[in-house]
């Protein structure tokens, strides 16, 4: 495929070094990690090694890492599992969470739970005042994402966690978009639970983890053979877990380079956007370095994304999992952006392998497409 990939927040290409660690577990006989013979024991050892790698990348202890099959599963597990182990009260989450946090919270309403979304300001930063007010009601769990997948905005999780702890609630953060892009430390953030995922950091799809403070009671989402200390049943995906571990190690090693390189690409890109009369979202606040989210009034984001794809550039109009819906981004709506402008949103997310040349090529293509689409709509009007 010759197109240039600028959609790293959706998923990333597997690092060849990660693949090397995985191949033996796909090609050679790998035992069921629960089996006691040598095939099973070597699978078990590989999983435990990966657990250490994930823990180190996340500033956590290996014993705090619970492997799951996806970030979605880890988020569902955190919300439903932690809430489920307590008597019914309130679940709070930010208004800009990924649906795999907000929807399980909503599903808990069926069993008598309250759930509510905490608003954000026009830059996409969580309203701490609103959180404090909402915490006056008895609350079981607060879930706020570390970095938003669309805008890239980073929340002050340590501060939010402190407020949450004072109110006697548990704090969960979805750090899927943070790991590998900014330093992430479970211990420093002082949260009770944190989600991280493999395929966003050049690891394989099919592995993720919930990092969990062992003092927190949690109900399993999946019942069965009792793997992962009884908290997540199901035969472990050895190859993907091994790859996840390797990807974590590389992500931490490459972090400084990733941050400075993608920040340089983004700065160049956003400088180039200036002449195009676009709105860049959340530019004034701290963002992960690789993400730029912008919109043009009068041009549908979906149309622009499709046009850019024909020119060989893979970008997104929002998060991947909702990219087949035409609803404007819930993140932008929460920021008070008008639906018409929100429909024009396009997300560019850079990776370590993107080059400055690709950025300038992309800018040229973007300018041409915008001009062309404007003429088309002009004719139509």
């Amino acid at each position: 495929m010759s197109s240039i990939y600028l959609d790293h927040n959706a998923t990333t290409a597997l690092d060849p070094r990660v693949l090397e660690t995985m191949l033996p577990w796909i090609q050679r006989q790998s035992g069921n990690p629960t089996s006691r013979h040598v095939f099973g024991r070597s699978s078990r050892d590989a999983i435990e090694h990966a657990r250490t790698q994930v823990a180190e990348a996340c500033g956590a202890y290996a014993s705090q890492v619970i492997f799951t099959a996806s970030g979605t599963e880890a988020n569902n597990f955190a919300v439903k599992g932690i809430a489920g182990s307590q008597s019914g009260s309130q679940i709070l989450h930010s208004a800009i969470e990924h649906p795999c946090v907000s929807r399980p919270a909503k599903a808990m309403q069926q069993t008598g739970w309250l759930s509510d979304a905490i608003g954000v300001n026009e830059h996409g930063v969580l309203s701490v005042a609103q959180l404090q007010q909402q915490l006056q009601k008895q609350t079981s769990i607060v879930s706020v994402m570390l970095a938003n997948n669309e805008t890239g905005v980073i929340q002050n999780i340590a501060e939010i966690a402190e407020i949450t702890r004072k109110a006697g609630a548990f704090m969960h953060t979805d750090a899927v978009q943070g790991l590998g892009k900014v330093p992430v430390s479970f211990t420093d953030l002082n949260v009770h639970a944190m989600t991280v995922s493999s395929h966003k950091i050049h690891g394989p799809q099919g592995a993720a983890a919930l990092i969990l403070d062992k003092r927190v009671d949690i109900q399993p989402l999946l019942h069965g053979g009792g793997q992962e200390r009884g908290l997540r049943s199901g035969t472990e995906n050895v190859a993907a877990i091994v790859g996840f571990g390797a990807a974590c190690e590389l992500a931490v090693a490459n972090l400084a380079h990733f941050a400075s390189h993608t920040q340089m690409l983004r700065n160049t890109f956003e400088l180039g956007l200036k002449s195009l009369n676009v709105t860049i979202f959340s530019q004034q606040v701290t963002r992960i370095p690789n993400t730029s989210f912008f919109a043009l009034d009068g041009i549908e984001g979906e149309t622009l994304v499709t046009a850019l794809d024909r020119k060989g550039f893979a970008v997104a109009s929002g998060s991947a999992c909702s990219s087949d819906s035409t609803e404007p981004s819930h993140v932008l709506l929460a920021m008070g952006i008008k639906p018409d402008l929100a429909r024009g949103a396009v997300r560019v997310s850079f990776g370590a392998h993107n080059t400055l040349l690709q950025v300038t090529d992309f800018l040229t293509a973007l300018k041409n497409e915008i001009l062309r689409l404007k003429q088309l709509t002009g004719v139509a009007a």
Binding site: A10, R28, N32, T34, S35, G234, N237, A240, A314, V315
Partner: protein, 417 residues
């Protein structure tokens, strides 16, 4: 990058570090053809199948849909009836909790069998905690379910029954058609855990009266970490999603799909469809050879019905041998005592207990499971290893001595310590 895709099945030599693999029911190696098909989808075609705006996503989506067709074809289903999951455990959880919750207004009673996999039993137990009632039926000593007992267990408020197709420990095949018909007559939703059945028995969901069926890839030479749930469309069965989020899989199961794993499952199921008939003849011959070899040993008992059974499985109890020493003694072969999921515990297999086996016989059982890469030489080696080791262990066993002296051990009154 060019990745070597050569299969390196660890060809066991039979020594303690390189045992011969006879644990195909715990997990199978990935078939080299499956691995070859998967690897391009972890390297160049790495898109998120939910990305609709660029070819990276489309290529991934197309591969996912092709795989869905292959899975559907093996089991006589419509591709639209196949929902991807992370494995059979998730499929079982989704089917049982999903259907029980969706139809709970109809009734809150569930029927299952004591020899089911933990992923079914523990899920039903969880529903009991949530206010459902459950009946756990014991099978007959053959491992098979008595249809009359099943029928008698159905109550007006029975909403769901879950019975596995092929048992993981003893390999017996339940009469799914008959059980399904009883469910149909009584308006009970019928779930079948078929994790151990694919590629071993013919499954035709067009004819089978089954509403929900769980599948796993890694028991059929596919990769670990992927499975599927069949959800019948006609008549339509509804389930409540257990994982919420981006609304993947028509809302039934959210979460980014692991494309390469799904591709692997599709290829594994294609191979199973095309080769199972021939393969099963070969495996049956090896199993029978193993059985005849082991039957030369005195006081051995086959667990579970031998006729209604997949050819891959042989579960045998060696009387008057202590279970733990037995496992330690036969390190030249990789086998399991009881199911892999519980093999970390030293408790006797609950499946064998449910058949009415004594603790002693359950403890001294070995599950041999044969597969695609098992050879005649592997079987020959296993027979001679078992004969030698059993002889040796029995030489040391006072119970064996007493048995040989004609003492009826069941009548011995042991002194309490």
């Amino acid at each position: 990058m060019s990745a070597s895709i050569e299969m390196q099945v660890l060809k066991g030599s039979g020594d303690d570090l390189h045992p011969i693999y006879l644990d195909y029911s715990a997990t199978t190696p990935v078939d080299p053809r499956v691995a070859a098909k998967m690897i391009p989808y972890i390297t160049e075609h790495f898109g998120n199948p939910a990305s609709r705006s660029h070819p990276y996503g489309w290529t991934a989506e197309k591969a996912v849909e092709n795989a869905r067709e292959e899975v559907a074809k093996l089991v006589g289903a419509d591709p639209r009836e196949i929902v991807w999951t992370s494995g059979a455990t998730e499929s079982n959880n989704l089917a049982i909790k999903g259907a029980a919750n969706f139809y709970s207004a109809k009734g809150k009673h569930i029927i299952t069998v004591t020899t089911e996999h933990k992923a079914v039993i523990d899920t039903v137990r969880e529903l009991e905690r949530q206010g459902f009632e459950a009946t756990y039926l014991d099978p007959e000593p053959s491992g098979l379910l008595d249809l009359e007992k099943f029928k008698a267990a159905i109550r007006p408020d029975t909403v769901l029954a879950s019975v596995m197709f092929v048992n993981n420990e003893i390999g017996v095949i339940q009469d799914i058609t008959a059980i399904g018909n009883i469910c149909r007559e009584n308006g009970v939703i019928f779930h079948v855990d078929a994790a151990q059945a694919t590629g071993k028995v013919h499954i035709d969901l067009e004819k089978l009266p089954v509403d929900l069926m769980s599948f796993s890839a890694h028991k059929t030479y596919g990769p670990k970490g992927v499975g599927a749930l069949y959800v019948r469309r006609k008549p339509r069965i509804r389930i409540e999603a257990q994982m919420h989020g981006g609304g993947h899989e028509r809302g039934m199961r959210s979460g980014t799909l692991a494309t390469h794993q799904i591709v692997g499952m599709g290829e594994a199921f294609r191979i199973a469809r095309e080769e199972m008939d021939e393969e099963n003849v070969r495996i049956r011959r090896l199993r029978d050879k193993l059985l005849h070899g082991l039957q030369d040993i005195e006081e051995v008992y086959v667990n579970g019905d031998l006729e209604q059974r997949v050819p891959h499985n042989l579960n045998i109890s060696f009387n008057y041998v202590e279970g733990e020493s037995l496992i330690m003694a036969v390190k030249g072969i990789a086998v399991s005592s009881g199911s892999a999921c519980t093999s970390a515990s030293l408790e006797p297999s609950y499946v064998l207990r449910a058949l009415g086996r004594s603790d002693e016989l359950a403890h001294s059982s070995i599950r041999f499971s044969i597969g695609r890469f098992t050879t005649d030489a592997d079987v020959d080696y296993t027979i001679s290893l078992m004969k030698g080791k059993i002889d040796k262990l029995r030489e040391l066993s006072p119970l064996w001595e007493m048995f040989k002296d004609g003492v009826d051990l069941s009548k011995v009154e042991w002194a309490a310590h």
